[in-house]
């Protein structure tokens, strides 16, 4: 034998060093078999094709999609030769591969999370309309961002936007979106709605939005969420967990931002309704006033009538006291000087007297 002679330990060390520097991380696409979870924590399975099979080891926390035997997956792993357990791939990340498998994974997770009540309509909160400030989670390089901002500012430019610029595709996308959700939820000055948007793409492109961790983070958000992933046909788990979903990013903008024109029109209508109410109120008050006025005048007329009757009664009474009335019956008042003569004894022959009749006076002399 020629060349280097290794101890098994040395060989394991050299092998791991060599492979580790050449392929620190490998992506392998293959079919899953013998998938099992031990103690609710450790994940074991084989990834194989027609001719080869490799052992994979990982933790449950790294599983973000539903995986089962027979499923074609794309595995991100570190190759490692274990001193006792031979060669295995240390799982970093695993996603279903191909539209069929992605759909299958979706169905399994959908059933599981539905059972947990994550998508329950009773969990859905209504969004403030319009919110004064939103937290927008998307990539500012994506067309979806441009569409959303364009529609939003055209409709309701008053809305404040706090952007969390994240990747919306690839291995890191889900983790970044989750971090952004936490950021908005823990912010001292909270936003009123969190909006997550992304344009359309293939099932693989949109895989981040089928991530179980992200789905749970959306469902757990204290701040109401609106998720719009730009494909109309299929729903992502992220959208299902949101309080509100929109069919496209533009549609998301329409759902949270009222059109200025509509708002103005609405104000005009309300103003019109107010003016109708006011004029009806004024008419009623005017009618009341007229009624009061009429009633007041009637009372006043009645008062005048009563007073007139009273004056008439007093006039009649006064007529009875009129000393001149007695004179009309033939009596006359006799005065001597300025004094009234009440007795014949007060007069003597030759006295000048004044006689007052009802229609005038005469001078006279007492002759006997």
């Amino acid at each position: 034998m020629e060349g280097l002679i290794f101890s098994p330990t040395d060989f394991v060390a050299v092998f791991n060093q060599t492979v580790g520097s050449a392929y620190p991380l490998v992506v392998i696409e293959g079919e899953v078999s013998n998938f099992r979870i031990a103690k609710g924590r450790w994940v074991y399975f084989d990834i194989k094709d027609e001719y080869s099979s490799l052992r994979v080891f990982g933790t449950v926390f790294q599983l973000k999609h539903a995986i089962e035997d027979g499923m074609l997956v794309r595995l991100n792993a570190r190759p490692e030769l274990h001193p006792q357990y031979n060669f295995s791939l240390q799982m970093v990340d695993i996603v279903p591969s191909g539209e069929g498998n992605i759909k299958k994974s979706f169905d399994i997770l959908f059933a599981k999370l539905t059972l947990e009540g994550l998508f329950d309509p009773s969990r859905k909160r209504s969004l403030p309309y319009p919110p004064s400030k939103i937290g927008l989670i998307t990539s500012n390089e994506a067309a979806a961002y441009g569409d959303f901002i364009k529609v939003l500012t055209a409709r309701w430019p008053l809305m404040g936007i706090d952007l969390a610029n994240v990747r919306v595709q690839g291995n890191q996308a889900a983790a970044e979106i989750i971090a952004a959700l936490h950021y908005f939820n823990l912010k001292p000055e909270p936003v009123e709605v969190i909006v997550i948007i992304r344009g359309g793409g293939s099932a693989e492109d949109l895989l981040a939005f089928q991530d179980e961790h992200l789905t749970r983070a959306i469902a757990e958000s204290r701040i109401p969420t609106l998720v719009a992933i730009g494909h109309e046909r299929d729903e992502s788990l992220a959208e299902l967990a949101a309080d509100l979903r929109a069919s496209t990013p533009s549609n998301a903008a329409e759902l949270i931002a009222p059109a200025r024109g509509e708002v103005l029109e609405n104000y005009k209508e309300r103003l019109l309704r107010c003016s109708t109410v006011i004029s009806s109120l004024v008419s009623t008050r005017y009618a009341d006033l007229r009624e009061s006025d009429q009633s007041l005048r009637a009372s006043f007329k009645q008062l005048i009538l009563i007073e007139r009757r009273d004056l008439r009664r007093i006039s009649e009474l006064l007529a009875a006291f009129n000393p001149k009335a007695i004179l009309t019956r033939g009596y006359a008042l006799v005065r001597s000087g300025d004094s009234l003569v009440r007795s014949a004894k007060q007069m003597k022959t030759g006295d000048e007297i004044k006689l007052t009749f009802h229609d005038g006076e005469r001078q006279a002399s007492v002759i006997g």
Binding site: D293, R297, I304, E307, L311, I314, F321, N322, L333, L340
Partner: protein, 64 residues
């Protein structure tokens, strides 16, 4: 200084006092003649006040 015009109630009170006087037993004829004229004048004045008030109300009703 112009004397303040008497109100309807004041005039009416004066008239009532005159009537009370007439209803008392000790009535002097000369005084009666004088007070009778006063009372008649008061009645005329009161009637005029009522007519004036009626006119004011009619004018207000036209404006309303």
């Amino acid at each position: 200084m112009a004397t303040k015009e008497k109100t309807y109630t004041e005039l009416k009170n004066e008239l009532d006092e005159l009537l009370d006087w007439f209803e008392s037993s000790d009535v002097d004829v000369d005084e009666a003649l004088k007070k009778y004229d006063e009372a008649a004048k008061l009645i005329t004045e009161l009637e005029k006040k009522l007519a004036d008030a009626e006119l004011v109300v009619k004018k207000l009703a036209k404006k309303a």
